[in-house]
């Protein structure tokens, strides 16, 4: 770990003007600093900022402060009752100890678990050293992404929470040197393309202050299903977040997002289009799953993720429409 200066911000303005890396729970940043992957010269502690509240909004939506801890968010009564997919996604991630530390804003910015990204003895990582190549391609790639990859990067986005938020159409609110703005979560994450070092829409100095969720549709049912090698403390091989509204055996409204398979939290628009207005039957679920994975580009070791992700979607749809 390289030496750094540490300052604690009292206000959002102070934080965004400090010119350093923000640290909340530290569950990603400190880990990567120990590995010398992250080498910030200045850390700005934002744990004292007034962003740790969950509030119900007048329009029925929910406002989640960026400093709300994963465990507090998962067990918040509003979240448990009306945004079950988010609660389930949060509780399926990491361990109880990590969830007690990890924050909402930090989890939105969680970095990949790609072993080649995390090991600086590999100089060829386009995320760390733009233009240097990708050690993961041709390496141990079982956990890597199959959707949204490029010849520059195949790293999987690791978060469960973000997948739940994708299916809930969250909006991310940021504040920065140029003022405050809002970004739909669907526009927040960049595909790696030729610049995998640019992971999201944040501008330099911008701080995530909170997330808002729209009011859930009253008839909707929500499911988060995570498939993984072991039962706990394990990243997804494939996960699916489904928010579904059915009537008369037909799907009236549907949102499907996937984790463990994409270079970003993956919204399966093709699956949604294939389901809209259709009867909630296994055949349609399977067709939707096929549509969601039709562009999958597996590596040498992770071809199984294609079939596993399809089965994950089918099961999640079955559960959400039963």
């Amino acid at each position: 770990m390289q030496s750094f200066s540490f300052t604690k911000a009292q206000t959002v303005e102070e934080a965004t003007g400090a010119g350093g890396r923000f640290i909340g729970g530290g569950t990603t940043l400190v880990d990567l600093m120990k590995l010398n992957v992250e080498t910030p010269s200045t850390l700005v502690d934002i744990t004292g900022l007034p962003m740790a509240e969950v509030e119900k909004l007048p329009d029925g939506g929910l406002k989640i402060g960026a400093m709300v801890r994963n465990s507090d968010l998962a067990f918040h009564p509003e979240v448990k009752a009306r945004y079950a997919v988010l609660s389930e996604a949060l509780l399926s991630g990491a361990s109880a100890q990590l969830r007690n530390m990890a924050t909402t804003g930090g989890n939105l910015l969680q970095r990949t678990r790609c072993p080649y990204f995390r090991d600086t003895s590999y100089s060829n990582c386009n995320k760390r050293n733009p233009g240097s190549g990708c050690a993961a391609i041709g390496g141990h790639n079982r956990m890597m992404a199959i959707l949204g990859t490029s010849d520059s990067c195949i790293a999987t986005h690791p978060s469960d929470m973000c997948v739940g938020m994708m299916a809930l159409d969250a909006t991310i609110h940021v504040s920065g040197p140029k003022g405050a703005r809002s970004i739909a979560i669907g526009d927040f994450y960049h595909l790696p393309g030729t610049t995998p070092n640019v992971e999201n829409a944040l501008e330099p100095g911008e701080l995530i202050t909170h997330v808002t969720l729209p009011a859930p549709r009253r008839q909707s049912r929500q499911v988060y299903l995570k498939l993984r090698d072991r039962a706990s403390y394990e990243f997804a091989l494939a996960s699916a977040a489904v928010v579904a509204e059915t009537s008369g055996g037909h799907i009236r409204n549907i949102r499907v997002a996937m984790g463990g398979v994409g270079t970003r939290p993956w919204r399966a628009h093709e699956a949604e289009a294939a389901l809209m207005g259709k009867p909630a039957t296994p055949a349609h679920f399977r067709a939707a799953a096929e549509a969601a994975l039709k562009d999958a580009r597996p590596q040498s070791e992770n071809g199984f993720k294609v079939e596993l992700a399809k089965r994950c979607i089918v099961r999640a749809l079955t559960m959400a429409t039963a």
Partner: protein
Amino acid sequence: MATQESTAAKMAGSPHGIIGRPVARIDGPLKTTGTAEYAGDFHLPGMVHAVPVQATVASGVLRHLDVSAAQAMPGVLEVLHRGNIERIYRAVPNDPNATVSETRPAFEDDRLYYWGQYIALVVAETPEQATAAAAAVKAEYAAETPDVRRELEPFAGKWHTVSERGKVDDALAAAAVKVDQTYGTPVETHNPIELHATVAAWEGDRVTLYESTQGVVNHRNAMAQILGVPREHVTVITRFLGSGFGGKLFPWAHCALAAVASRRVQRPVKLVVTRTMMFSNVGHRPVTEQRFRLGAGADGKLVALQQDALNHTSLVDAYDEGCGEATPYLYSVPNLKVASALVQRNVGSPMAMRGPGAVPGLFAMESAMDELAVALKMDPVELRLKNDAVKDESNGNPFSSRHLRECLETGSAKFGWSRRTAEVGSMRRDGKVLGWGVAAASWGAYRFACATTVELGADGRARARCATQDIGTGLYTIFAQVLAEKTGLPFERIDVLLGDSSMPEGPLSGGSWSTATVLPAVAEAAEGAIASMLAVASSTPGTPFAGADAKTLRLTEGRVHRASEPAAQGVPFEQILKKARLNRVSADGRSGSAFEDPKARGLSMHSFGAQFVEVEWEPEIARLRVSRVVTVIDAGRIINPRAGANQIKGAVVMGVGMALLEETVYDPRNGQPINANLADYRMVTCPDTPQIDVTFLDYPDYALNSYGARGIGEIGLAGVAPAITSAVYHATGVRVRRLPVRIEDLLRSEIRQA
């Protein structure tokens, strides 16, 4: 638990009762309160910190090291490397009392044999400074393409015959039913939760090493040779171990590095091996690849068995896993051949890991037996009962005590095996498919030499000393139980001092032999100390026993009394010691190896067991979990069923990991263990842990020692993985012969719906 009831019932008839009682470990409070001192916990005045630099290629030559930047960094005292380190000697080859894990000392030549090999060592004031400077050392390599392939075939080298009888070729050719399959197990990393660590402190030409070792005596002997000092000048201290699973049996390269660094800087040096280094530098269970050929009659009677076992080893050590460990004696079969060979890979040296040989060997053999049962359309328990051996057919010796049949029958009854339907995927519960599997287990029973001292002190306490160590299984408590049995003192008045090489020499913590080894020596020492105490009582004027024949005296509940009178009428022994102006009485106890014991001669001594496993399978999402394990163990008399059941349960959990999760993966391009951390190397978590039912048959094996105890550290792991893969086959129809079972294997199942 049934075990505890049956033991309690036996205890009622025992005069003292402490042997066989499920007592809590005496070191428990120290561990739960964080006050037990492990090697890395020792902080000595003036101590500095050493961090090794690792090679980032697995094959080739170290061309150049640039340490100038590191040397100039804050707090750095010394950067040691091949060019400036004093000589580190090799340990004497094949010295059974001074074994090392890796023959080649660090920095011996500029050749690179495996990824992560130590190439330099930074010594600095703080661990952070040493770590930062280690990262600043620049190395230039002439890199070559390493060979870290998991596949060991095709193999064209020379085979070594381990065991042979009859004519296996002819019998296989003529057999009515045959199985011929190859089974593979991956590199498993020991991963004890306590990191390897050395704290070295010199005083003149004497050194004290605070170590995480499974053998303080061997460690002292080896380090004396390696450091070039007399044995008497080295003291090794291991108060507690956060386990080792075999990985800490013998010294590794870092131990010598810490010691020579300390000698160089003339200050105590601490070196803690990181978790990531532990995947490359301190051993692993090697890859095995085993071809098994079984031939049987239509009635299920085995007629032929051939095992050809390969395991990988490093370029610097010829480590033989010994996969044929249990094969020659487990079943009755007239024609048998076991052969083995080694294949070199660019990996660090392998090292014995819990149940070495038997555990991967039984995975292959018991998997083949399950396949034979399927081929015969015979129940797999029935097949094993039919082939039970009444003597050790590899040498004709009778078994000292063998109850495999009862393990299988008891396990069947407890598990409910009679309700099993044989057809794949035929059992369902709560929307899931169930799979049931079984396997037999075995592990050797050993006893080695041990010396110990027991004292009765004027402070009213009994005290045992032995240069062995408690690997974390409960050996402190075993000593205390024997002292309590002999003296009648409560645990509160018993001290057990272990883990110091200057004490009387005790055993390595390995091979599940510690308990069987120490029991007779502690008993003899305790009896000697008591005899001495009674002699003092009879010869000390002013005591009620002065002039009495010592033979008529007893020590009970800590009191000396006449045999004809109750203990309550006696005198506490410490009062007699005070009267006699003695600080203590003491005696040494010694016992030899079972190999030299006439009582054990001509007997085949092993523990046995049976593992019954249930898996739950959700075919729609390829989710498989082990839900239930019934394990029945025949390991002689169980001295402490609580610590014993804990060992077996832990071993079963490890077996779940072996079957479904654990594998160290090497990047084929550079030979790096790529999942070298506890997130990416998957071990079992609490929600993966099945319900585990442990039964000990508790038949004493008096051929091994006077208590009839064998060992229980390893037997619990044997047979778990093949029972699981057999259950996986029963649920899914997928036969996994290459561990671990992965979701990608299960997706091949033709059963798509529960």
